[in-house]
Structure formats: structure tokens, C-alpha cells
Symmetry: C2
Subunit: 403 residues, 2 copies
DNA sequence: TGGTATTTGTTGTGTCACCAAACATAATCC
DNA sequence: GGATTATGTTTGGTGACACAACAAATACCA
């Protein structure tokens, strides 16, 4: 008899289910705490008994997901516990293809970048096959430099566009000029050591690096909208510490929220999209600067009193205020995190943006909207892609533990 | 030792957890199927064994959550199974306070309205204490007419405004002229038979009646944005069959999405909100009709070629198109369900609205946006409030089963 | 009309992962 | 050096499920 549950239904629970759940609970408790914890500490935090925690921990240590440190320091009274930390022997490969660069990184469970290669190159209008072949080579070179003991558990690729996650197809990336790109068909998976590859939107993955400081450990913000300023504008919502990807993984497309229906036409077919005001290209054009100019130059012009630059910045801030207030209202969120080129001009944009949000967000009466700036990372998508792979392991450690 | 897990963390799983899970699984399988199912049918659908299903079913029958029917019909070969259906002895009280009416309903697990009272009254600018006292009386009268065998498991109240779900406070309801209303303090809970009361936003609850045909059984749509046209505009998003309420329960506030930042001022403090174009009051005003006029009159005027009415309708459709396209983009949804006064004019609005959505929604290239109309229900919030209570029982049947 | 096949529901038996409690270990305190 | 305290391990008991055998109720067929 077919013993498969119907598609949408929850699965039946059995003995193995509770083991899976508690294995995940112990692992995420170890990874989630800023300081190393002992088995007893985990037991106290999880409502599991010490005996159960001990058994599960031993399995996690055996799988390399958790490392035991030397019990050197002894601050308290009784027998000192064995400090447990994330296993350094487990890591993931994170890749990113962007209009301006390609990046490959190896990140371990402790969140450390073990090895990375970053190549600056203009991929606008490039051939997807060629670009993917090149990132494959980048990954191959990267893997050669790794210590042989390191266990790579998977690979992730961040792409600046709409992605079909299930079949790993990049449906549309206007800023690269790509569409309908079948990634597994074009990227040589042998170059990745035949690791399972998952593909996702760049903003979703970058947002993950804000939500998590390190794989499995929450950052200071658990509910926010991440705005990824690139050539265009990407976005992602994080709710309860998890990226809210929606039914197909296309949620958070904030770049095409309407700011002014009578505004300029957007290549997407609509009019007055946020991207037409606050995208990098749009901001530079309004400021009278060439398309390739660094954002720092725009900021400098504003500070020296240049009128066109000032206008550009004000228009961007106002557009962000209008678009983000709608998004915050709809998602019940009160924090915005600026990334990419918007992070570079964040201090100039923030006062005006916060003012607009305060006027337009319904919940501002009870919760003051806040604007934060993402930490500096030249390829947050690559880090996020590795995090996503590691999070999948953290979410189902039973699959990595030998019985 | 305190055996309580840290706030956000997942709970430890134990033997009882798997019982809880499977009890829920069996119950939702019974409630979720359109036709009565046998124990063996449940076993086939859930990947549980017949013996386990039998044991759990007996407990659910004992608690009144599941009823056994007579095995009269016998279409197949072997021994006919005992048909299982939702228990009719379990029901919930659903209340709704709206600018134009108050409603009280008792809905059983099969989704039948056992008893109801609906009172038309103008509550705009009314005293919250007085209005809540009256709905308490309505509920008291309603309970008197119930069969004594019926077991009420809770009460829900739908309110047209921003609600703080934890402490049951209505923070703001501009269309009633209420704010900071402490419901449990003003509503006599004894009138509700001391049932536990949960308070929620009207649109969230109305959306629930679209997502679920009957408690525990999904409707044909599992991902959509519900637009509740009342005096203003409320909204709710349903994702994967569940209402997406956000961190505080304020998500889906689509009435104040910006349509045109240069548009008319809104009482909320912003400008050009959707409500200023597609709210009932706004539509009637633009059409040159009095504030109390029925929507059918506006529709009739449009059909007879009245220019002002036509303008009103077009403006509403365009505004809905602009606002909803942003919402659909952000939430990764492609279906809109119109309720309230918008449902009454849906056939006139639909063509223009669908056109706007098709132009502005990014994913329209792959998934055609659709506009549906909510079923006729004069107080969907009351039904939804009862559904919410019953869903809570379905979500944790172990709490209602005697060991 | 009675035997066989088929399906449903029930009744043991074994397994697995947990809890509880006792025990062993390693430190501090006096 | 013994009492105290905390960590980690070992042992026995329990609950819920899978598996398999059985009982019950129907259809099919000679």
C-alpha cells in the first residue's frame, strides 16, 4: 500500500519524529547561544533531561555538527561542563552572480569565511552560459584550496532576479538582461563537486545575513524589510527571524511597488515603480552623474551643496518612504534595513525617509518606524546562499547523523 | 528547576507530542474531506496504521469532536466502514460589531449556523461601552435558544479596526470613531457564559471564511488577498490557506496603501490612500450620491450611463489596481477576492481591475492575476470569528480529549 | 446456499525515545 | 580531607506507535 500522505497534509508523527525534533532543538540551542554551552546548559534551556541531551549531543558531535572544546576555564562551583560550539568541520559553498561581480565563498557552521574568491566583471547583457561557466571555474579553484577534512554539505547561488526555486530556473533578471536561464543545465555541477545546488533570489539571501549573525543564531532584528539597492531595487521581508518568501519564492519584490502611477514608465510594464526613483541607475541619472559613478561621489556632491544631487537624494528618499510605508502597513513590520548602494547613502537618506514613514505608517502611533543600515559585506548574497544551505542542515540534522 | 523553554525557542518533543500531532492529523483529515471517511480511509490518507487511527478516533468521538454515522450504504466489496464526520455537538460563538450592524452567531464544527441574531444599527460615533453591552445582550439571548447538549468551546469578536490580539484591546477603529477600547473591561463576559473570548480584525476573520468552506476544510483558494469593502477598506492576506496576520496581527492593512502621494489627505495622516478612492463613502461621494445610499444604486446609475457614477467606479478600479498590484508583488500572490461593498459592484469593477493588475504585477507574465468575489454573507466577520475559535480546537484537540 | 475473497476494525507483542532517579566524576568550600 | 555542588552517564520504567494476527461484515461465485 502506498504509505505517502496527501500533498498538503501534515505528516504523521512517530518515534523517529520526536528524535528529529529534539536533535534539531539541541543543535539550534548550541548554535543559537552566543557563549559555548554545556550539555547541562542545553538541558536547562530546552526542558529536555540531561540524559537525553547527552545522547543527542553525542550523535551531533559524531556527525561533526557540534564540536567539544577543552573544559579549561572553571568559574563556578561543581564539575565544569564541556563547552559545546558549532562544528567547524561542516561548511557550505555560497555563490553569487551580480551585474558588477561574481563571488564564491566557503562558510563554515561557525559563520567563518574559510575561503573566498571575488571577481569584478561587468555581466550586464552577458551570455548566461558563459557567466555560469566562469562561476563554476571560480568554485572549482576555491575548492582546491580547502583543507581536506572540511565537509561541504551543499552549494547555494544568489541571483538578482525572479527565481523558480523548485527547478532552479532564473525566470527573469532584467538588470543582467537574462531570462529563462536553466541554471543546472548551464552550470557544470562537477565544478561544485556534485554538491546539491539551491538557487534563490539575492535579496532574500542577503536579508538572511541580517536576520542571522551566524548560521542558527538570530541577529538583533527579527522583523524587518530588507531593501537591496543594486542597479535596480530588490527586497525581502523577514518575519519572526525567517525570510518570508511567499508561495513561489517571489515575495518581497519591492522594487516594483508603485510610488506614483503617473510617474515614468518602467521596463517591467508598469509606471512609477520605486526602482525608477531609488535604483542606483535612476539616482545617478537624476544627479547628473554617469551610470558607472560610485555612490560615494553622489554623497560627496550632496554634502558640497550640489542641487541636482540633492534633488536626486530627496526624490529617492520620498519614493522609498511612499513605497516602504505601504509595504510596512501590509506586512505589519516597523523596521527597514538598507543594503547595497542605499546603505552607502543611508545617513543622508535616513532623516527624510524616517519622516515619511512616520507620517504614512498606520502603526507608527504605537511603534516608531526605524531605519537601519546593513553591515558592510561586498557579496552578502554569497554569504546568504551558504547560510541557506547550512540552515537546511540545521533544520534537519537527523539526515546528517549516522544512526 | 524551571522546566520552561526560552520564549522563542521550539518546545521539546516527548511521547505526548506525537499523540497530539496524530490526534490533530486524524481530526483534520476527517474534517478536511468533503465526504465522510472511515477509520481505514483516514489510515490510508495519513500513513498511520489502522490500529493507531482507531484508538485516536475513539478518543475524538468520546470528546464529541467527531461523530460516527450509521454504516447504511455499502458500495464496495468488504465490510463497510463506519462513516466519520465532524462532531455536531461542538460549536463556537461568533460576534461582530460593524458601523452598520451587530451580529451574533453560533456555528458548529460542521460549519452550520445553529442560531443567529442580527441587529441593524448605526454605531458610527457611538459609545463603545454601550455598543459592547448591547452585543453582550445579543449573545445572552442567543445562548438561551441553544439546545442544552451543544458544547460551546469559545467566543470570538470581529472588529473593524486595528486590534491588539494578546490583550483584546481595539487600538483604533476610525470608521466607528473608537480608539483604545478595552473589550474585556466593557463587555460583560458573563453574558457570553464566561467563554474564553478572542478578538480580531474583521477582514482577517472574513478572509478565513473564504479560505475555509467549513472549519478545517480548505476552500478552492489557498493564496489570495481579501479586500473587505466597508465604510473604509480593510484587508487580509491568506497564504497557504492560513491568514497571514503578521507579528502583531496588523498585517494586511491595505486600505492605507498609497495610490497617489499627491492625492487627497486621509484621516490616517497620510495622503492618497486606497480608502480615499475605493472606500464606500468615497465612491458614493464621487458619484454624487448621499453617504447612506446602497451600492446597488451606484451600480444601476453606471449601467444607465451616469457620468459621475462611471468616474467613481473607474477611479476605484484604478486605485484598487495600483494598490493591489503592489500588494500582490510584495506577497507573491496572484488572486484577489473582493468582499463587502466591492463585491456588490464586482462585475463592473472586474474588467478594469484585472487589466490594471495584468499590467503592474511582475509575476503576471507567468501567472495570470485573477479577481474573485466573496460569497454572500451579511456578517462574514461573525462566521469567521466562530471559525477562528473552532480552528484553535482543531489545532489542539488533545486539550479537549479526556485521557 | 455455502465457501472464498476482500475490506474494516480490534487485539496482542515488540520497539523506540523519552523521563526519572541513582550513580560516577570533578570541581569548590571550609 | 570531607561536605557541597554541578556535570555527565547508566539503568529501569512508560507511552505511543508499527506490525501482525484475528474477528467481523460484506460481495462474489459456483
Amino acid at each position: 500500500m502506498a504509505r505517502t500522505p496527501p500533498p498538503g497534509a501534515a505528516a504523521a508523527a512517530r518515534q523517529a519524529t520526536i528524535r528529529d525534533t529534539n536533535l534539531r532543538l539541541v543543535l539550534s540551542t548550541v548554535l543559537g547561544s552566543a557563549e559555548p554551552v554545556s550539555r547541562a546548559g542545553v538541558a536547562g534551556a530546552t526542558a529536555l533531561t540531561r540524559s537525553t541531551v547527552s545522547r543527542l549531543t553525542d550523535e551531533l558531535v559524531g556527525a561533526g555538527l557540534v564540536d567539544e572544546l577543552e573544559p579549561l576555564r572553571a568559574p563556578g562551583r561543581g564539575r565544569p561542563g564541556t563547552p559545546l560550539v558549532a562544528g567547524r568541520g561542516v561548511a557550505a559553498l555560497g555563490l553569487q552572480v551580480n551585474p558588477g561581480f561574481s563571488a564564491a565563498r566557503v562558510v563554515d557552521l561557525q559563520g567563518r569565511i574559510v575561503e573566498e574568491h571575488l571577481v569584478t566583471e561587468d555581466l550586464v547583457g552577458s551570455d548566461p552560459g558563459e557567466a555560469l561557466r566562469r562561476i563554476g571555474e571560480l568554485a572549482r579553484r576555491l575548492r582546491r584550496g580547502l583543507p581536506p577534512t572540511l565537509r561541504l554539505v551543499g552549494a547555494g547561488l544568489a541571483l538578482p532576479g525572479v527565481v523558480s526555486v523548485e527547478d532552479a530556473v532564473l525566470l527573469s533578471a532584467p538588470n543582467l538582461g537574462w531570462s529563462e536561464v536553466d541554471v543546472p543545465a548551464l552550470l557544470d555541477l562537477r565544478a561544485l563537486g556534485n554538491l546539491p545546488l539551491r538557487v534563490a533570489n539575492e535579496a532574500d539571501l542577503a536579508a538572511r545575513t541580517v536576520a542571522e549573525v551566524v548560521p542558527g543564531r538570530s541577529g538583533p532584528l527579527s522583523d524587518f524589510v530588507y531593501v537591496s539597492g543594486e542597479v535596480g531595487i530588490g527586497g525581502a521581508a523577514v518575519i519572526g527571524g525567517r525570510v518570508f518568501a511567499g508561495r513561489h519564492g517571489w515575495a518581497g519584490e519591492i522594487g516594483h511597488v508603485a510610488v506614483d502611477p503617473r510617474g515614468p514608465a518602467c521596463p517591467c510594464g508598469s509606471t512609477g515603480c520605486l526602482e525608477q526613483y531609488a535604483g542606483r541607475r535612476a539616482m545617478l541619472r537624476t544627479a547628473g552623474l554617469p551610470a558607472g559613478a560610485p555612490m560615494a561621489l553622489l554623497a560627496q556632491r550632496v554634502r558640497s551643496g550640489d542641487a541636482a544631487a540633492r534633488t536626486s537624494l530627496d526624490a529617492a528618499a520620498r519614493a522609498l518612504g511612499v513605497a516602504l510605508s505601504s509595504v510596512l502597513n501590509v506586512l505589519d513590520i516597523s523596521t527597514v534595513v538598507l543594503g547595497g548602494h542605499l546603505a552607502e547613502t543611508a545617513e543622508l537618506i535616513r532623516p527624510s525617509l524616517e519622516q515619511h514613514l512616520h507620517e504614512r505608517v498606520i502603526s507608527a502611533l504605537w511603534l516608531r518606524p526605524a531605519v537601519e543600515v546593513a553591515g558592510q559585506d561586498d557579496a552578502p548574497g554569497a554569504t546568504g546562499a551558504a547560510f541557506a544551505v547550512l540552515d537546511a542542515v540545521i533544520d534537519h540534522p537527523a539526515g546528517w547523523v549516522d544512526r
